[in-house]
């Protein structure tokens, strides 16, 4: 356990030598993560909503997401770095993060729509809502918690991969792990690992709060009113979530 004490002492001392200071590495880590997830969201959310609203293209999305899961992000990162040239490392890295984040966000977007009780949508239609109103006033608000769940999974995958990207000299919190391993400084390696783990846990916690906050008011009221239906809805939820299972990274 003294290793951990040494690592924490190293973090508190704040003397990172030739490496970036901890605050800067944290900012780099967060900026790369945000860039990857936001670009992926711009691409994946409209496609996912289209699939969820029309039911078209679902098989293709599932197949592509399944195949993407098998692609090692570390390998893709290095491949793109070599193909694009060493001068374009940041671009290579962001493309990797986007590719990595798309499947989770896509699944979150369309499973969010699929989890909605069909009767709610039929009720909206019978009240005279247009397709656009059904999309924006029923499907988007009710699908939001699962979409945020997809964003949460994507963010965690990307934050882990940004860490690994320190191997190609991208900076971020991973630089302490990579440099520490090269210099055989165990306290620095463990310090880096602790910082990354804490950052991931904090991000996960923030997303958990957001995910809870975006549950529509009506849905929350219904859940309180009829606790008896919770078992059945849990079963349905389990089935829906199987499609969007996040993967560790």
């Amino acid at each position: 356990m003294s290793y951990f004490a040494d690592a924490i002492a190293w973090i508190l001392a704040g003397d990172t030598g030739l490496m970036d200071p901890i605050w800067l590495a944290t900012v780099q880590q967060l900026l790369y993560t945000a860039a990857g997830v936001l670009i992926a969201a711009v691409v994946a959310v409209p496609i996912g909503w289209y699939i969820g609203h029309t039911g078209r293209g679902r098989e293709v999305a599932v197949a592509v997401s399944g195949a993407a899961r098998a692609v090692p992000s570390f390998g893709l990162l290095i491949l793109l770095t070599l193909v694009l040239g060493v001068l374009h490392k940041p671009e290579a890295a962001v493309i990797t993060f986007v590719v990595l984040a798309i499947p989770s966000i896509l699944a979150g977007a369309y499973t969010g729509f699929e989890a909605i009780d069909r009767r709610v949508i039929d009720a909206g239609r019978s009240m005279g809502m247009t397709e656009r109103q059904i999309l924006w006033r029923i499907e988007v608000p009710l699908g939001l918690p699962l979409l945020v769940g997809g964003l949460r999974a994507a963010t965690l995958q990307v934050v882990a991969t940004v860490t690994i990207s320190a191997y190609i000299g991208l900076g971020g919190l991973g630089q302490y792990i990579i440099s520490g391993l090269q210099l055989r400084q165990v306290n620095v390696i463990i310090a880096g690992a602790l910082l990354v783990a804490v950052l991931a846990l904090v991000l996960d916690g923030l997303f958990a709060v957001v995910q809870h906050a975006v549950v529509a008011r009506g849905v929350r009221a219904a859940a309180v009113a009829s606790p008896l239906s919770s078992r059945a809805s849990r079963r349905r939820r389990g089935r829906v979530e199987a499609a969007g299972v996040p993967t560790p990274s």
Partner: protein, 229 residues
Amino acid sequence: MTWVWDNLPLIGGLTLDHLRHSLIPLAIGFVISVPLGWVAWRYRLVRSGVVTITGLLYTIPSIALLILVPSATGWYTFLDETNLIVALTIYAIAILVRSVSDGLDSVDPGIRQASTAMGYGAFRRFWAVELPLAGPVVLAGLRVTAASTISLATVGILVGITNLGYLFTNGLQRRIIPEVLAGVVAVVVLALVIDLLLVLLGRLLMPWTRATRAPSARRSRAVVVGAGA
């Protein structure tokens, strides 16, 4: 391409290492997750605890786990292949425990009561009725776990554990694009082959899923079409 032909024995050897590093965690993870998943399904209180703990483990990036577990336990060094196997087993358990308890959730309570009425005890009912019926959901979880374990195993090279990930770091240092590409393709092919084997194994062990799936798929499609019209 010539690089690939000249180095086939290297790729073959690394593939075998990679298989060992990913299949052992998958097998151990499955064996641990079945009883753990049952406990999580049976006892509500334990369930929320198990889901929280596995969720937290899940959250920790792989490279951090590869460093923190050996540092905390002191049982082995970073370089030891046991390190990678333990870390991947932890991730496998994190996914599979949820699959097992979700699978048990999907079993029709009527069937459970019927088997109890026929005289099955809790233990025999679990193995003969509940686990087989939970099978399709568990298999789906196992397929996700297999793909992510196989692709995640490559990260081991960063702490010095050699498998197909070696082709990435070595290819970068020597600037050989075909080497890195060969590594990516080998990992994807390996994942697809294992996925196919899991599907075949599922058909072999759960022949009833094939017989019942066709009509139920047609029915659900009819529902979707009906709703869209």
